[in-house]
Symmetry: C2
């Protein structure tokens, strides 16, 4: 399966080898990249056996990283060509410090993460590196230590931040394609993030607070659907004020699309249920702060945000 | 302890003999009233032993109802003079049907219940009866079958609905006073309900959704305190539009008073935690409906209400 398109092979490191990081690390390894991972909690297991990836789309196979390291400080080579950053974006996690030992002058930094406006701190720390922002539309789960299951077609939307399609973005796109899960390249990835935010900022926290519950439980309540639509409109207005107008009709389309698929719990609902850290700031906090800065009134998102901060405080 | 002030004794029936109903039934029995209760779930126990009431204020004693009945249809006498209605106000509970067999033409109906605007359906069903609306500021719990503990001074604010202090209200006030826990009579009980609603409508659902959590967890988050204040302002504006202006400074006073007492979980937070039915409509739904009818904009309360309806749907 491994291709020999690239000589010498692209060297990649996955930081945050959860389900998403494992899947896409595996995909580009299939395309011939030399892929290493940072794994603290599963270090012994992964060093010995690698990952088992089960996928309806690319089949079941073993992904054996070149290097498994516990910490970026242990990186044994020259800086990698690609750094895939797949960690949750959490307040108490200093991503930049984790990245610094493995970012060289030519390293392309690929952020496969949730949220809006998550790139500026990375760009500020590494102003001369290409930053590729990536949005995953995929259902993939770590079902047991070292075992990842991939359920749905896992398209990544990728683009160079803040605009355009740079060299690293193009290379990453080729690797994804040759690995069997083509990505979608965009020259306006911030707009793509706003489009994803339009769904995530209302649905994720609502599903975490009111239950935690599933998508259809929210939409089946008339006041629930109305709330989601109102909050989507607040994101829509904020995106427009930020210079990223979203397509007309997108709210109707998102609500209908959510009704048309099976009910499910969002990642934040699952995080709330299992008392794991939640990406409140990346998904919702950044949205309401941009709105406030631009003078957009978002009372419903503000309410949701305050409730999430109280929930987080209750958990702490 | 029983007084002989009243000849013949006032005959009272408690409908909804939870902690509140048991406490106040006991208090007026101490004043000489003949008090019966409706108790389905504890019928055997209460028929045999009555209630044990433990109180820091009126001491520990036994409350033996005159009659214990399982259903109002079993009421063996002429209609009682006083009917104390102490059930939760829930959507699926037809209070009027439960009350009808025991409401005679002279029966005074005393609603010791949470919420705003809860009297109209009762008044519509019994237009010729005096309706006494009562607000409990009390910490009292049913700690085991037949055992009720009363922790704090349990003042009832009472008034005839919609205005004034009628004969039944005065009688009930005298019984409370002679029973050892004087009530506070008001000639504007609807205003008193709005004052209580100003605290309950924001705090109860917030504490139920975001945790469930305690009062201080909410107020310790800066965005949490701001949210509570904004929602209190929405209730304040709604009350004013409804012809019930509340005192200046009441929001500051309520927030400070909440900080000054120990952290606790509201009744709705406890209901959410133990998956019991919640008084969403009585406390919050009625508030937002009144606001909408009067053209008061309440986006934060609307958000809270929608989240509560989703939470209830998730539980169902």
């Amino acid at each position: 399966m491994a291709s020999t398109l690239y000589h010498p092979p692209t060297r990649a490191l996955v930081l945050g080898a959860g389900a998403i990081g494992t899947l896409y690390g595996h995909v580009i390894a299939r395309a011939g990249a030399e892929v290493s991972v940072v794994s603290r909690s599963e270090y012994e297991l992964i060093s010995k056996d690698g990952y088992q990836v089960k996928s309806l789309h690319i089949g079941d196979s073993n992904f054996k990283p070149k290097h498994v390291i516990r910490d970026t400080k242990e990186w044994p080579e020259a800086a990698p060509d690609l750094l895939l950053v797949c960690m949750k974006v959490l307040d108490n996690l200093d991503q930049v410090e984790l990245m610094r030992p493995v970012v060289g002058i030519k390293t392309k930094i690929i952020l496969i993460q949730n949220g809006i406006d998550i790139e500026p701190p990375i760009q500020a720390a590494f102003p001369d590196n290409e930053i590729i922002s990536a949005l995953a539309f995929v259902q993939v789960s770590r079902v047991a230590p070292g075992i990842v299951e991939h359920f749905s077609y896992g398209e990544l939307t990728i683009g160079t931040y803040p605009k355009g399609i740079g060299e690293g973005c193009r290379l990453f796109g080729q690797l994804l394609e040759h690995g069997g899960i083509p990505g979608k390249l965009t020259d306006d990835v911030v707009n793509a993030r706003w489009q994803k935010c339009l769904w995530n900022a209302p649905f994720n926290p609502t599903s975490a607070l009111a239950g935690p519950t599933k998508t259809h439980t929210i939409l089946n309540e008339p006041v629930g659907e109305a709330l989601i639509r109102d909050m989507m409109q607040e994101v829509f207005d904020t995106a427009a004020a930020a210079g990223h107008p979203l397509p007309d009709g997108i709210i109707d389309q998102y609500v209908q699309a959510t009704k048309d698929v099976r009910p499910y719990k969002t990642s934040m609902a699952l995080d709330a249920q299992y008392k794991r850290p939640m990406e409140t700031e990346a998904i919702l906090g950044n949205t309401v702060r941009i709105a406030k800065r631009l003078g957009v009134v978002t009372p419903k998102l503000d309410t949701l945000y305050a409730l999430m901060k109280i929930l987080e405080a209750d958990r702490a």
